[in-house]
């Protein structure tokens, strides 16, 4: 086979040298489905192919040669936030995210271009300031200095966990993620709008997926049970950008709570950034004549659903005493 032939073969089939070692582990998956109960990707898209067990099946199909990798399959494999709710809940002991990482490496090596939940850099907007580089705990971002006159930020697509910390931190707004997984700022803003439209919703809670999502399963009420709050899974609390909070007030929220992992427990060190960001934001609120007590940052460890419920109840009571924010008609600046 010539070089071109090899390349073609590689792209159409891949050799899956890393993934193949997991065949026995993949056989262990009994497809009980407990992995997807807590999967944020499945919650937003609701296709079986978005479930962790679905992705494992696709990988199994590719390594056993039953199916060939297609662009659609590859996109599915690259959609994951690595919250590990799936592997933590897998009593068959399948190391789901490790398998996924190896499959990603194989597919990148096979030449696939992919978006998934990976961040992308708009080079026209990026000034290569480098703020994002040390921010990424997974070292997925680096500065490519090969061309002295044309430095750029590059993304390691295998290592990027899609946490979005860099998206919230980029001063130029040059880092984005594909829409469709309900984590981009416009999508989160849209969710806030939907919540506030509902009768009686006063409080918007941005909940970290890592610490709070599993606990939330125990406390979040589905349809029919009306609550004065709405919980939005924003992935890491570090990606709750200030404009998201201000938008919530602008849409009519009486208060905003950001629920993150306690210090030292955050997988991404995003909670420290949130803390600093919210201190600054409270000062901005004062300028806008909004009581800074309308924003709360609270820490929760995994499974602290009772604490979450208590804290939300307390905050709702306090907000009910404060009442709604009075809108200032002329300048559209919020006040109250």
């Amino acid at each position: 086979m010539g070089m071109l032939g090899k390349l073609f073969y590689f792209k159409s089939n891949g050799n899956f040298k890393r993934s193949k070692k997991w065949e026995q582990e993949l056989n262990k998956c009994i497809r009980c489905g407990y992995c997807y109960e807590l999967c944020p990707l499945f919650k937003s898209n609701n296709w079986e192919s978005d479930t962790p067990r679905g992705k494992l099946l696709l990988i199994y199909g590719m390594i056993t040669g039953e199916i060939k990798p297609t662009q659609e399959i590859v996109e599915k494999i690259f959609q994951c936030f690595y919250c590990k709710n799936c592997s933590d809940n897998c009593s068959a002991g399948v190391p789901i995210t490790d398998i996924l990482t190896d499959a990603r490496a194989d597919l990148i090596e096979a030449g696939f271009e992919v978006e998934g939940t990976i961040v992308k850099i708009d080079e026209d907007l990026c000034s290569v300031c480098g703020i994002c580089v040390p921010l990424c705990k997974y070292e997925a971002l680096s500065i490519d200095e090969k061309d002295e006159d044309n430095k750029k930020i590059v993304v390691d697509k295998v290592e990027c966990r899609g946490c979005g910390l860099c998206v919230a931190a980029c001063p130029a707004g040059a880092i984005t993620q594909k829409e469709g997984c309900e984590v981009t700022l416009p999508e989160l803003h849209e969710k806030v709008k939907e919540f506030i439209k509902e009768d009686g919703k006063k409080l918007v809670v941005f909940a970290c997926n890592w610490s709070m999502f599993p606990g939330m399963q125990l406390s979040e009420s589905p349809t029919l049970v009306k609550t004065p709050y709405g919980i939005i899974v924003s992935m890491c609390s570090g990606r709750v950008a200030p404009e998201l909070v201000l938008n919530a007030f602008d849409e009519g929220a009486w208060g905003v709570m950001v629920a993150g992992c306690p210090p030292e427990e955050c997988d991404h060190d995003g909670n420290y950034k949130t803390r600093r960001r919210l201190v600054l934001l409270k000062n901005v609120l004062k300028e806008l004549n909004i009581d800074p007590k309308r924003i709360r940052l609270e820490w929760f460890s995994t499974g602290e659903s009772a604490k979450l419920e208590r804290t939300i109840d307390d905050f709702v009571k306090e907000l009910e005493k404060m009442g709604p924010i009075k809108k200032m008609n002329v300048s559209k600046v919020i006040g109250g």
Binding site: I30, C32, S91
Partner: protein, 475 residues
């Protein structure tokens, strides 16, 4: 098979139809050993959409397989003839909670635990909860007549079905049953749909009974050196007129597996029994627990612990809750397959059946754990084997033949709560030949073109291994 994808998109919208291999491949599988590709996946959101899809499929004789969480163990939703997978998870609204009538109205995609989360603040619950309640949908539970750990006191799904709306194969919508716990108004067709595994109609709304949450629950655990002692204790508890709200068995293989998977530190004895009593009067709950403790002691049960505390009870029960998946961790090189998974036997045969399972497994070079809701006669097991070896699938075939012959000989049933699907069909057909022509007549009357989940239960192939591709790479 030719399916007009554009036509389906017109019905449910662009984003709710897929014929991409990424979707077809994963929807071709459930928790069973089977795999077969559908031609399209469709996700309806309304009753009208389901009706339109059925009208189109019926006119063109396209198979339609309704699907809930895809947690079925016997290949119920594996599309053996291709066709349309009807993913019902989008129809997941709780439509009405009526405490004054002690009922709920739900769409079929509502997840069991979600329903119970909504009911809990009202002091109510929906009892049939299978172990998979965290993902299992009400529609799927109706299709399989699911039951669970509390079935010993509260019964199975069929005991909670008051009424339902069903879309028939020709697209017609029928309203079955009532809003009352009992009715005597014509054929109990809503009960016919229960356990029909998607072969008679598509459930699009269900009216289900609910119960008040008991004020007290007390869970106890007893260790037994021998499996036989544990089995006899269970039979004795039931026949002595005790009223457990849970009575579960877990053998040594199960204990070792959950210890490995969850580091629970359980004593690796011959077997464990978990028994629970519930009620609104603490003395009465205590009375039941003490009565059951005495019986356990009579059968050499020891290290008996009990607790009313929710956290403690959750911990005691956690191993049982995750046992099924944990079995894949029992021994390196072998994995857990969903075969011979839910026999039902008369109460007096629990111990004998449990021992027989171990005996058959040993004879045929596989490992089988014995566990389950034995208080209601449900014995769970799984065949644990090396899926890559062809010979192990032969071993599994022998196990299944021997085991189900035995179950039939003691007056048991092939499936107590998971359904027949594909993998249990040969054994069930052998045991109940008299039912087959009657069931075919019912099927023919409701689905003359045989489009709803065809070739399942009575029409499934006689060789389960060759019924579809196995989802494991063998050889």
């Amino acid at each position: 098979m030719k399916i007009d994808i554009e036509k389906l998109k017109e019905i449910v919208g662009e984003n709710n139809v897929s014929d991409d291999i990424a979707d077809l491949y994963v929807y071709g599988s459930d928790a069973s050993v089977h795999h077969a590709l559908p031609t399209a996946v469709v996700r309806p959101k309304t009753i009208e959409e389901v009706q339109k899809i059925m009208r189109y499929a019926n006119a063109n004789k396209i198979p339609v397989v309704p699907r809930g969480a895809g947690s079925g163990t016997s290949g119920h939703t594996v599309p053996i003839d291709g066709g349309i997978i009807l993913d019902m998870k989008q129809m997941n609204r709780i439509l009405d909670i009526r405490p004054e009538d002690m009922l709920v109205k739900v769409e079929p995609g509502v997840v069991d635990d979600d329903l119970n989360r909504a009911l809990k603040p009202l002091g109510l619950f929906y009892p049939p909860a299978p172990a998979s309640s965290r993902i299992a949908t009400i529609g799927g539970e109706i299709a399989a007549n699911a039951s669970g750990v509390r079935s010993v006191k509260y019964g199975a799904t069929r005991d909670y079905v008051y009424g339902m709306k069903v879309v028939l194969a020709n697209g017609d919508l029928v309203n079955l049953g009532s809003n009352t716990r009992v009715h005597s108004s014509g054929y109990q067709l809503e009960r016919l749909i229960v356990g029909s595994e998607g072969t008679l109609g598509v459930v699009v709304e269900a009216t289900m009974g609910i119960r008040p949450l008991p004020k007290y629950r007390c869970l106890a655990v007893a260790n037994f050196d021998k499996l036989q002692g544990a089995g006899n204790a269970i039979s004795d508890i039931i026949s002595s007129g005790c009223e457990p709200s849970m009575l579960e068995l877990m053998d040594k293989i199960g204990i070792i597996a959950v210890n490995k998977a969850m580091d629970l530190g359980l004593k690796e004895v011959g077997a464990i029994i978990l028994f629970e009593a519930d009620g609104n009067v603490k003395e009465a709950v205590d009375f039941e627990i003490e009565k059951m403790k005495k019986i356990c002691k009579k059968h050499n049960g020891k290290d008996i612990k009990k607790s009313y505390d929710l956290a403690e009870r959750t911990k005691l029960f956690s191993g049982r809750k995750k046992l099924f998946a944990s079995l894949s961790q029992y021994k390196e090189g072998i994995i857990c397959t969903d075969l011979a998974d839910d026999m039902g036997v008369p109460n007096s045969k629990i111990a004998e059946t449990a021992e027989k399972i171990h005996e058959i497994a040993k004879k045929n070079n596989v490992i089988m754990a014995v566990y389950g809701h034995c208080g209601s006669g449900v014995i769970h097991t799984k065949i644990m084997l090396d899926p890559k070896k062809k010979s192990q699938w032969k071993d599994a075939e022998h196990v299944i033949e021997e085991l189900y012959d035995y179950i039939d000989s003691v007056g048991g049933v092939t499936s107590a709560e998971h359904g027949i699907g594909l993998s249990k069909a040969p054994a069930w057909k052998k045991a109940r030949p008299d039912m087959i022509p009657v069931m075919r007549k019912v099927k023919q009357a409701l689905d003359p073109n045989n489009i709803l989940n065809p070739h399942k239960i009575m029409d499934a192939p006689d060789d389960w291994v060759k019924a579809t591709n196995l989802r494991y790479k063998v050889g």
